[in-house]
Structure formats: C-alpha cells, structure tokens
C-alpha cells in the first residue's frame, strides 16, 4: 500500500471517527435517558465501554500480528503490531481513568478487585512492558522480536490470569453494591448510544493505528533512502 493511500485511509477514518464522537457526545448529553439507580454519572459508560472494547481489540491485533511477525518476518506486521499496541495503551488509559471516575459515584469506591478490572489493569501493564522492551532493546531487531514474544505470551497467559481472578472472589465475599451485572437490561436508547460510541471509538482507533503505521512506513523509506546516498562530507 502506498503512503498516500495509507494517509487517505487514516484521514477518512479519522474524520468519520471524530464526527462519530461528536454525535456520541450529543447523544450522551442531550438525548439518552438517565439511568435510574446510578443517575447522571452512568453516562460515563458510553465512553468507558467503547474504550475497553478497543483496548481488547488492540491487544488481539498486537498478539496476532506479533505471532505472524515471528513467523513471516515481514516488517509491516511489526509496524501493525506496534501501532495497535500504542492505540491499546492510549485507549486502555482512557478506560482505566473513566472507570474509577464512574465507579467512585456508582459503587462508592473508585477501585475494586473485580475480575474485569483486575484483568484490564494487568493487560495495560503487559502493554507497558511491550514498549519498555522495544525502547530499551540494545538491538533494534531483537527489540521487535522480544516485543512480539511479549504480545504472544501475554495473549496466552492473560486468559489464565482472567480465570484466576474470576475464581479469586470465591475466597472473599464480594460486596453486593458493586454488582453491576444485575442492573436492568439496556434500554433501546442506551443501546443505540453505546453502539454509536463503539463505532466512533473503533474508527478513531483504526485511524490512529493507520496513521502510526504510515509513520513507520515513512521511517522505513527514509532509512532506505539515506542508506543509498553517500554521506555528505
């Protein structure tokens, strides 16, 4: 894919995504009904859930592209894995900040060791490790491979981590207030707003990932071009 095509694609997705986010905010602030028990703060839900979805998506892409990179050694797969991981880190941060803000009001506590919370927090740290290894690797190529290994191993072990934390509460009684599963099923206006949020965030995510991918592409081209030219005296 040529660089211009990549830029165009990213631009279009980005514009659509930003438009989607604007619509989402209008829906969230003026249209969707207020949830009965949690009140106005429940609206954070429409930002929180889409960012969580995107984080998981990013993690999956990073792991798959990482595994494919180890197998095929195509630079482009590494760019994709890295770009997705960066997106995952950012959207993970959004999820991990919007969550406690909502929880502080809805549950009365910003954090609880509920399985999903624990899992996503740990996943964010795996992403962090992914970048620390890339950044500090003595050899650039080894850094790429090691980062891919972290992505793959993370994807393998994270389900086990999830199972563990899922069963962990059986040791400790779970506070009843914190149970968000037994809330009322989603009303249609809430469902629509959520869907808009999911779509908008996904578009923005892919826009960022493709832009980032284009940047790596550009760096690669630059490295190739400067290598061919004789150094200026």
């Amino acid at each position: 894919m040529s660089l211009t095509r990549i830029r165009w694609m990213a631009m279009v997705l980005g514009v659509l995504g930003v438009a989607g986010v604007l619509v989402l905010h209008w829906l969230v602030f003026f249209w969707v009904g207020t949830e009965r028990t949690m009140g106005i703060v429940q609206r954070i839900f429409y930002v929180h859930v889409p960012s969580a979805w995107v984080t998981f998506l990013a993690f999956g892409i990073t792991a798959l592209c990482g595994a494919a990179y180890l197998w095929l050694r195509d630079e482009r797969l590494d760019w994709a894995a890295q770009s997705a991981a960066e997106g995952g880190l950012v959207f993970g941060a959004i999820m991990l900040t919007s969550g406690p803000l909502w929880a502080a009001y809805a549950w009365g506590t910003p954090w609880t060791w509920e399985p999903r919370l624990t899992l996503t927090l740990l996943m964010w740290f795996v992403f962090l490790g992914y970048f620390l290894v890339r950044a500090s690797a003595e050899d650039r190529l080894a850094g790429k491979r090691m980062a891919a290994v972290i992505g793959v191993l993370g994807a393998l072990l994270i389900p086990l981590v999830h199972v563990s934390v899922l069963w962990f509460p059986s040791l400790h009684p779970q506070p009843v207030v914190l149970n968000i599963d037994e809330g009322p099923t989603l009303d249609s206006d809430m469902l629509i707003t959520l869907m808009v949020g999911l779509l908008a965030f996904t578009l923005i995510f892919f826009s960022i990932v493709i832009f980032r991918y284009g940047l790596e592409h550009l760096r690669y081209q630059h490295a190739l071009e400067t290598r061919d030219q004789p150094r200026a005296a």
């Binding site: 996943m123 003595e138 050899d139 290994v149 972290i150 981590v161 563990s164 069963w167």
Partner: protein, 226 residues
C-alpha cells in the same frame, strides 16, 4: 532423545557447578530472603495482625522477590564473557538451553524456598501444619510456573539497556495466577485443611506451569536468535 537429555544435563551441571563454586546468586537470593523476613517483622504491627494469618502471602512475596533477584542474572554470566555466542552456536537445540536454564533456576529457587520456610519458622514461629508432602508438591508446581516465565523474560531483559530493572514489570502481571493459587493452596495447607481443598489450586498451578513452560520453550528461540 537421550542426546537431548544429556545436552540439557550438561548445561544444568555447568550452571550448578558454577553456582556451587561462586555461590554468587545463592548468597544474594538467600540474603534477600532473610532480610525481607526481617523487614516484614518491622513493617507489620503484630499487635494488630497475627503473622500466622499472613504466612502464605508473606512466604510467596519473599519467594517472588528473592527468586527474581537471582533469576534476573540467568544469562548474565554468559553475556559478560561472551559465552552466550558459544552456547547458542553449539548443536544444542535452543529449547534445550531454555529447559536447562529453567531446571538450574528451579534448583536455586527451591533452595531459597527452604531458606524462607526456615527463616519464617525461626523469626515468627510459623506453624506449617498440614501435609509436608503436599506442601512440597504445591511449592514445586508453583515454582515451576514462576521459573518458566521468569527465565524467558530474563533472556529478554538481559538484552535491554534497562536490564534487571525491567524484569518485575514484565513478569509480575503474568505471575498473578501463581500468586493467587499458590497463596490459596499453601494457606490452606498451613491451616491443615483437607487435601481436597487444595486440589483445585494445584491443578491450576500445574496448568499454568505446563502452559508457560511450553510457551517458553517455543518462544525462547525468537528471543535469543542472532
């Protein structure tokens, strides 16, 4: 197969022999283990909590920190003298090298577990109750999981400028299952609960160990390849 096992055994023997002669890692790990126990004594108000209630948790934290200190240096000696090149160029399959490193690390961590158990018994009079065989089994299976993950990641952190500083950030998120089920199982054994209550945790620890060992053996080649 026998050749493979002999190759693995050769590396294990070399590692343990070097450790026996220098006692570098063991001294640091064992020292840290005892010191952590001493710090816990001052860090925890024993008028408020009974140390026995925290026994399993303290033990596992000590094992993780002590073990990490030594395991972070798994490939240090080979790197310092460039011996890693020779090792990688030798006809030993890369997963064989990984397995050998896992085994020698396992022996080291098992030793510091004995030191930790002794230190906590000495300082806090922990009652280890329960079936000692079951305790040994749980510790062994859980340790295998820890060692399998940490050995792979020590090969990664050894190739970064951050070195060992990076290791805990990489492994702790992935070692959460070992902490959960290791602490659950050892806690129940210390409380002399029936073996059935430990079984479930033991199986999950075994699953973690098998999965991370297999993943490590497969992924190790990508970490060290030149």
């Amino acid at each position: 197969m026998t050749v493979y096992l002999r190759q693995v055994a050769a590396i294990v023997r070399k590692d343990l022999l070097l450790e026996l002669r220098t006692r570098e890692r063991l001294a640091a790990m064992g020292g840290l283990t005892v010191l952590v126990a001493i710090l816990f004594h001052f860090a925890i108000d024993q008028g408020l909590v009974r140390m026995q209630q925290l026994a399993a948790g303290l033990l596992w934290m000590t094992i993780l920190f002590g073990g990490m200190l030594g395991m972070g240096r798994t490939f240090e000696m080979e790197r310092e003298h460039g011996a890693i090149q020779g090792l990688l160029a030798s006809p030993i399959p890369l997963d064989g090298i990984y397995l050998a490193k896992v085994i020698s690390n396992f022996v080291l961590v098992a030793l510091i577990e004995v030191i930790a158990l002794a230190a906590y018994w000495l300082f806090f009079g922990f009652d280890y109750g329960g079936d000692p065989l079951l305790l040994a089994g749980v510790l062994a299976v859980a340790t295998l999981g820890v060692v399998a993950v940490t050995t792979l990641f020590s090969a990664i952190s050894a190739q970064t400028t951050m070195g060992q500083t990076l290791l805990p950030i990489l492994i702790f998120p992935l070692l959460v299952p070992v902490v959960i089920f290791g602490v659950t199982a050892t806690g129940r054994i210390f409380a002399s609960r029936p073996a059935q209550e430990v079984e479930g945790s033991l199986y999950l620890l075994a699953a973690f160990a098998v999965l991370s060992l297999a993943a490590g053996a497969i992924l190790f080649r990508y970490v060290v390849e030149e």
